[in-house]
């Protein structure tokens, strides 16, 4: 198989490599492709787990604050609406997109592509959706949001008693599950499957 390196354009002759190993460009060292173990099954498992955690993390409060004996809690969505209320609709949209919308689309989209492949079928317009799914990937920033939560906790710790909400744990788990889904996904394999049907 010949693959043109996407970073330096060199044509590499790539031998068939065993599962779990990675082929790199001989000239610039970019990853040409890596074969993942049980790619389809694992990606599907991670995606389903991710959807459950996603629901949890958005339904429950992230942080609670004890003030004068009353427990006040906030969800991520409340942060977005509050930004909007302050007239920062652009920021609100950006936070909404990177922390809620894109991760949700990623999870649903992966399931939409993977599930039919698992059953030896092809979803409607699969190549189109998979292409845009891949393009969206850099815009999901949940792990960065997690760091934001940690920084906020430390910042607020001096002002009030901060109680981590249930959603915080779901968020933390979701980050690992999302990373797992993305790293177990083998785009080459998916494209091969999608391409086969096309021809």
């Amino acid at each position: 198989m010949i693959i043109a390196c996407h970073e330096c354009d060199l044509l590499n002759t790539v031998p068939s490599i065993p599962e779990g190993s990675t082929a790199r460009c001989v000239r610039c060292g970019a990853v040409l492709y890596s074969r993942k173990k049980d790619s389809i099954d694992r990606t599907m498992a991670f995606t389903i787990a991710g959807l459950v955690l996603f629901a949890l993390s958005n339904a429950y409060p992230i942080l609670g604050m004890k003030s004068e004996g009353i427990l006040l809690e906030t969800t991520l969505m409340q942060g977005v609406t509050e930004l909007h209320a302050q007239g920062m609709w652009g920021l609100a949209a950006l936070v909404f997109a990177t922390c809620i919308l894109v991760p949700l689309i990623q999870l649903l989209g992966l399931l939409y592509i993977i599930l039919p492949i698992r059953m030896n079928r092809l979803a409607w317009q699969a190549p189109f959706f998979f292409r845009y799914l891949r393009k969206l990937q850099p815009w999901g920033m949940m792990e960065v949001f997690m760091l934001g939560i940690l920084v906020s906790i430390v910042k607020l710790a001096k002002m009030a008693v901060i109680i981590p909400g249930l959603s915080l744990y779901a968020f933390a788990a979701l980050i690992f599950v999302l990373a797992g889904a993305i790293s177990s996904l083998d785009p080459h394999l998916i494209w091969d499957r999608l391409g086969d049907d096309h021809e």
């Binding site: 996407h6 330096c8 000239r27 906030t74 920021l91 190549p127 960065v144 080459h188």
Partner: protein, 216 residues
């Protein structure tokens, strides 16, 4: 490997940006262009107008970087007293109160990373302009670095969002997002687009084939 040391472009092949399918360069690869037969993405031997687009986006990002650092990112009103913090004054505040780790996280994510990314991309563009032969492999690594680190600058935006939401709940103080937050978000988003529009293959287009083939 020397006989294989040939780029896709030299062999009149195009690698699809999206699904990496290797296609024969179509005779007509004009503005409307040809589409990848597998995934439907427009085919280009190099990303279109890569240098001009990256320059334009970089310039915009440099401009936004100034108000992002000069204007306040957060306004805290407590008991009628208003305190506006810029990114740097926030960092200094944390150093003074002895919260080193937080100061470091904010400084790296909000000041160092965006600037580093801007400088790396500027350097890469200049090196492509000058047809530099210097360490193409390391320059490609620099490019990869910009793709990975950029997203972490969003931390401050998320911190502001959370602070705004939670402090609103208690009646002690109110926190408002300042104008710098918008400019800062623009810097992050625009530099991400700049990194995407830069084509690392341009670095290698200037490199002598035999030289690089013999290196390895």
């Amino acid at each position: 490997m020397n006989e294989m040391a040939k780029t896709a472009m030299d062999s009149s092949l195009v690698s699809c940006h999206s699904c990496h399918l290797l296609c024969k360069t179509p005779v007509y690869l004009g503005k409307s262009g040809a589409a990848c037969p597998r995934c439907g993405e427009a085919l280009h031997t190099r990303k279109p107008e890569s240098i001009a687009r990256t320059w334009a986006l970089l310039l915009a990002a440099y401009i936004f970087y100034i108000p992002a650092n000069v204007l306040p990112i957060m306004k805290v009103t407590s008991l009628g007293h208003v305190q506006a913090d810029t990114i740097l004054s926030g960092v200094i505040y944390f150093i003074e109160t002895g919260m080193w780790p937080i100061a470091l996280v904010i400084f790296i994510a909000s000041v160092f990373v965006p600037l580093l990314k801007l400088l790396i991309l500027t350097y890469l563009l200049i090196s492509v302009h000058k047809k530099s032969q210097w360490r193409p492999k390391d320059r490609t690594r620099l490019y990869r670095l910009t793709e990975v680190i950029g997203r972490w600058s969003m931390v401050d935006i998320y911190v502001v969002t959370l602070m705004v939401a939670i402090v609103k709940l208690g009646a002690i103080a109110t926190i408002e997002a300042g104008p710098a937050a918008v400019h800062f978000a623009c810097v992050v988003v625009i530099t991400m687009f700049a990194a995407m529009s830069f084509d690392p293959r341009l670095i290698w287009d200037n490199i002598d084939m035999e030289q690089s083939g013999g290196n390895k």
